[in-house]
Amino acid sequence: MKDISLQSPIASTPLARRSLLKGAGAAVLLGGVGMPAIVRAQADTITFGHLTPLTGFLGPLGAYGQMGVQLAVEELNAAGGINGRKINLVMEDSVNPATASSKAERYIERDKVPVIIGEISSASALAISQVAARNKVVFVNTGGNSDALRGKDCNRFMFHVEGANTQYVKAVGAAMVRDGLVKGRKLFFLTADYAFGHDLSRVAKRYITANGGEVVADELVPTDATDFSPYLLKVRQARPDVVISNLAGNQITNFIKQYSEFGLKYPFGGFGFDTAVAWGAGKGTFGGLWPMIWHHDVPTPQSKAFVAAFVKKFGKPPENQAWGDYVAAKCVARAMIETKSTAAADLIGYFEKEPELDILKGRKGYFRAWDHQLIQEMYTVTARPVAEVKDQWDLMILGPAVPGPETALSAIAPTPEENACTFPA
């Protein structure tokens, strides 16, 4: 290895302390910068740009998003790519809205990507969607839930594989109403204090009120909070009938762990959830009633094949975020194959005809033309009794798909009245 002396030039540079400190500060902001793509786009390849948070409280989910998209691209390339052209995948850590925006910009200018896939944070998804719209590139959102992204902030270049908050709320809400946790009950909300949480809390309150429940408190919890004891003491003070989490990522893990630690007896659950959150809480600690967009126990042949391929490649079952990025890459590839084009106008035109898409679930899904939301089945999960748990991944009992077979899939999606979307011209 070539010996490069880095130390002495730095030491001898008469830099002021403060400027170096500023440098360190800037480095903090850039923390977790992903590896820059080394492979440049070539004429005979199509480059997919992938962005998702790998650091911070959503980082654990982002890691699965990357695995999902990698597996999809590998399978697509093994099957001949897109009309003979191989897919070249570039992936980076989106970090925060500002960084996400500049990285999306760079993908488009440097790598000439026709599509950007990924994201989990609703705030970063909004930032990427603005860059995508300005440059006329398709962005498929695989993890940002806020209704506002499909409503107020919607745009023609953005598609949503991830369910909207309303889909989550209506899916698990029906189960809560069935279990008598809403009508005439007092509900205590804990809400993640950023775009996603605020949006979810708003949608959930509308649903609870419409179904005869009362939201008695809504506590905003900072996204970097790890200690929930003060909030749990407040829950106990309020003596509600039901405790509801509108939290996100690691927050939910800590909430569940500490809820069990404080031994609170009120039934609890939430309107947003990811499998990894339960895995982090662990056996005997996980509890409650939660919505789920996809789960590795979904009993369809396509889903089982995906799980088997994922376990083979990564040695563990896929988290639902892996499903989102996998399905997104597959849908985009299919649109490119069928339209023989990578132009945004052609891809959008294809999806807006609402073709049925295989999304590994019992019923096929489609991107709704007026807001570009993937209309699909949702699920609910509850804790599996400790004695029946087989391994560390097997903590949940998957409920039946929502809505039931006789109801239209759009029944749980936001209506135009609830979440109007007009694409900017």
Partner: protein
Amino acid sequence: MPLELVFLIEQLLNGLLVGVAYLLIALGLSLIFSLGGIVNLAHGGFYAIGAYIGVQIGNRFGFPAAFVAAPLSVAVIGMVIERLLFSRFYRADPILSLLLTFGLAMVIEQALRMVFGATPIPFAIPEFLKGQVFVGDFIYSRYRIAILAVAAAAVLGLWLLLQRTAFGRVVRAGVQNPDMVGALGISLRPYLTAVAALGIGLAGLAGIMLAPISGVHPAMGAEILTAAFVVVVIGGLGSFWGVVLAGLLVGLVRGLTVYFIPPAAEASMYLLMLTVLLLRPRGLFGERILRFE
């Protein structure tokens, strides 16, 4: 007692307990900085390593084994890091050691991510500490009371070590005037190693203690480090009780804000720091240490 007051007191006590958890990390941070002049940005990383080692040992040999082994192994790692890395930077521009530990923090976080994955690892409270303690209207988690006891013992032990032993006398003298200590024919080298091992071991202890409460994931160190720094800054450099008081104060102020103005919970700690720095630039009990002025 009116119920409202009970809840307020409950929040205050809870805040104090949370503050004690910060203390274990802040004291080590303060100790290493006071003696060697190294701002250890990797301190949170060692806290995370403590949690991960604790989980690995705990799952095989039970919690008590992890409780003993995790801090010890982290202390040994700290000793190695001190010998190999820190020791080269004691006399250098503090910026260099800042860069070193900053890099180290990122290496630790990324290494944990590569080895154990990015997802939080489950780690439960041991059976014998599960459950709650009720005193009238008060409720508290039994495990957190155990944390309080351990942390209090650690703080007391550290204080006795620094105040009542020959070792402590040399360390305290070294903080004030390392050159004079050298002139008296005492080499600070072994003391610097011991103090780094002690401080980093305390971070490891905090890691295993807090692992069952806050999730075990690669970024857990970065989460707690900021709070620990704030505690050190408020408490003042070189002051043992200043840091202790600051830890409790930060916890208390946080508890109060969550009770009265929840959205300001995170900001409260920084506002407190700002106020203290405006009134007392060296922190609450900060001593004037010439070489750091």
